[in-house]
């Protein structure tokens, strides 16, 4: 697992009780987490949970108000520049210069990052992200997916050890999303470390070996996707038509969980056989039966009520 350029066992991100207040508002409340080198760690949580705020703390764009934070062993409050030389960020907003062309944009950033042999590096990454045919196109003429891929190019210019992705695939079509997933996986294979935030549970399950679920600025759960499912929502979920609720409910066991989701009635049981039995005793066929997944964990832990910003 931990192979590659980072010496195994080092901890690129080490946070202990990190707090951030905006006036009276507490955006991060004693967040503690570790990202080990070679890991891909996912930060999940509702809008306003504090994911982007934490990411900002890592490279000095946000000044934490409390707690201990080390990135590559350095304190971002003091050594932001040294830290930034070693990481790449895909921010939540693309923030590309719309008037400039693809190449002009990337050459500026290569200059900011002091990249050696910038033209070669840019061409290599543009080809890697299938954007080489757009090198002379103005940014404003690119599609959303192309812009997002270009921010990946920008983040990778300096060949960083740590890649930070803030909602990298939000609003993109499935083709682009799959392409980006594949890039993240190959980047990990090269031994790099990744911290990403996402609202797509499938994405988190696919890419991350550790997940941290944030709610209102605090971590409410941490572990591998498997561990989290096993700990929080083990078993299988049967999904029924909402109007069959009463018929199904009459036959439930006390250790099964039932909940409403998207106008459907769901039952989670330890074994799939339990659900099959439930079908026959209630006489109602489930629309679908599936293993519990990260989305079940997420919804259980963050509550089904809407987040701060909704």
């Amino acid at each position: 697992m931990n192979t590659g350029s980072n010496s195994p066992g080092t901890v690129p991100i080490d946070a202990l009780g990190v707090t951030k207040c905006f006036g009276d508002f507490v955006a991060l409340e004693g967040l503690s987490l570790e990202v080990h080198s070679g890991q891909c760690v996912g930060l999940l949580g509702p809008n306003g949970a504090g994911k982007s705020t934490f990411i900002g703390c890592l490279y000095g764009a946000v000044e934490r108000t409390g707690g201990r934070l080390r990135v590559f062993g350095l304190d971002p409050a003091r050594a932001a520049r040294s830290i930034k030389q070693r990481l790449g960020v895909v921010p939540q907003e693309n923030a590309l210069d719309e008037e400039l062309t693809v190449l002009e944009n990337m050459r500026l950033y290569a200059r900011f990052e002091n990249v050696r042999d910038p033209i070669r590096r840019i061409e290599e990454l543009l080809a890697h992200m299938s954007l080489d045919h757009k090198r002379n196109a103005p940014i404003r003429s690119l599609s959303g997916g192309m812009k997002r891929r270009l921010t990946f190019v920008r983040a990778l210019l300096s060949d960083p050890e740590l890649l930070i992705l803030d909602e990298p695939t939000t609003g993109l079509d499935p083709t682009v999303r799959h392409l980006l997933w594949e890039k993240v996986l190959s980047y990990r294979k090269a031994g790099k470390t990744v911290l990403l935030t996402t609202h797509y549970m499938h994405e988190a399950e696919l890419l991350c070996d550790k997940i941290i679920i944030l709610n209102r600025g605090a971590a409410v759960a941490m572990g591998s996707p498997k561990e989290l499912i096993e700990r929080e929502t083990p078993g299988f979920v049967g999904i029924f038509e909402a109007d069959q609720k009463d018929r199904v409910e009459a036959h439930l066991n006390s250790d099964w969980h039932c909940f409403n989701q998207a106008r459907q009635y769901c039952v989670r049981a330890r074994q799939i056989e339990h659900l099959i039995t439930l079908q026959s005793t209630s006489g109602v066929r489930a629309i679908q039966m599936r293993p519990a997944n990260l989305e079940d964990v997420y919804l259980k832990l963050t509550g089904e009520e809407l987040g701060e910003n909704e």
């Binding site: 000095g60 000044e63 921010p91 923030a95 210069d97 008037e99 400039l100 200059r111 900011f112």
Partner: protein, 258 residues
């Protein structure tokens, strides 16, 4: 490499970024800052000159000339650092991405100052050259001093712009800043009329960095060499540049780093 040398290199990157964007629309960007002083020369210089007696041996056009250099410096620096910076910061989110690179808030502000200072120096040289050619500079050699004075004067003017960008809540409020800060320091500065025989105005304008810049430009253009006055106005201008510059840096850092 020394920490400050790296900062200088990164601040230069900000200058390059602004230049690359600026040259995309070069004519549209450069024409207003040249049109203003040109129109003013025509309307006030040529238009009013015949009705105005000479001022200390100068025709009104000659009196106005160094003020036009100051005008282009003030407007170049103020508008770039107020509207221009505000648009970069809020609508284009330029700094959200820039701050993920080794560039920090300090380099952004240094870069903006360097950018307006260089631009103002070039504009001052350009306007000065035209004035010299049409014979409105009693001391034509002063065109070589204009870029130097203009480059320094651009710093406090740009700092006022950055401060405005850090205080406004929306882009319309720059109009208020213009009306209550820029217009007064512009119209009451010695550009349009001498302040010498109006003691109250003459003492109030001492707190305006623009006035000291105008005074230096006039001394150069009219060949009025007086070491004490040079020392006083240059000292005041540099003091304003440093203090307003530091204030702007503190304010903008608070805006960029939350």
């Amino acid at each position: 490499m020394n920490d400050y040398l790296i900062s200088l290199r990164l601040a230069w990157c900000v200058v390059v970024r602004n230049w690359v964007v600026y040259r995309k629309d070069f004519l549209a960007n450069i024409s207003p800052t040249l049109a203003d002083p040109a129109l003013m020369m025509v309307a006030l210089g040529m238009g009013l000159s015949p009705f105005i007696r000479s001022i200390g041996g100068l025709s009104y056009s000659q009196y106005l000339a160094p003020g036009m250099v100051a005008t282009t410096v003030l407007f170049t620096a103020f508008f770039e650092c107020s509207y221009g910076f505000y648009v970069r910061m809020t609508f284009q989110s330029v700094f959200k991405a820039m701050l993920t690179t080794p560039i920090g808030a300090r380099e952004v502000v240094w870069g903006e100052f360097a950018w307006v200072s260089i631009r103002a120096a070039l504009m001052a040289a350009g306007v000065g050259l035209v004035l010299a050619i049409v014979g409105l500079l009693p001391n034509p050699w002063s065109v070589f001093l204009f870029p130097l004075i203009g480059g320094i004067l651009a710093i406090p003017c740009g700092a006022i712009g950055l401060l405005a960008a850090s205080y406004v809540h929306n882009i319309n409020q720059f109009q208020t800043v213009y009306s209550f800060v820029i217009a007064p320091i512009y119209f009451i500065s010695g550009v349009f009329f001498p302040l010498g025989n109006r003691p109250i105005l003459a003492s109030i304008v001492q707190i305006s960095p623009f006035f000291h810049g105008v005074s230096l430009l006039q001394m150069a253009a009219w060949n009025e060499v007086s070491p004490e006055r040079i020392f006083y106005h240059l000292g005041a201008l540099i003091a304003f540049a440093v203090s307003l510059g530091i204030w702007a840096l503190v304010r903008i850092r608070k805006k960029l780093v939350t």
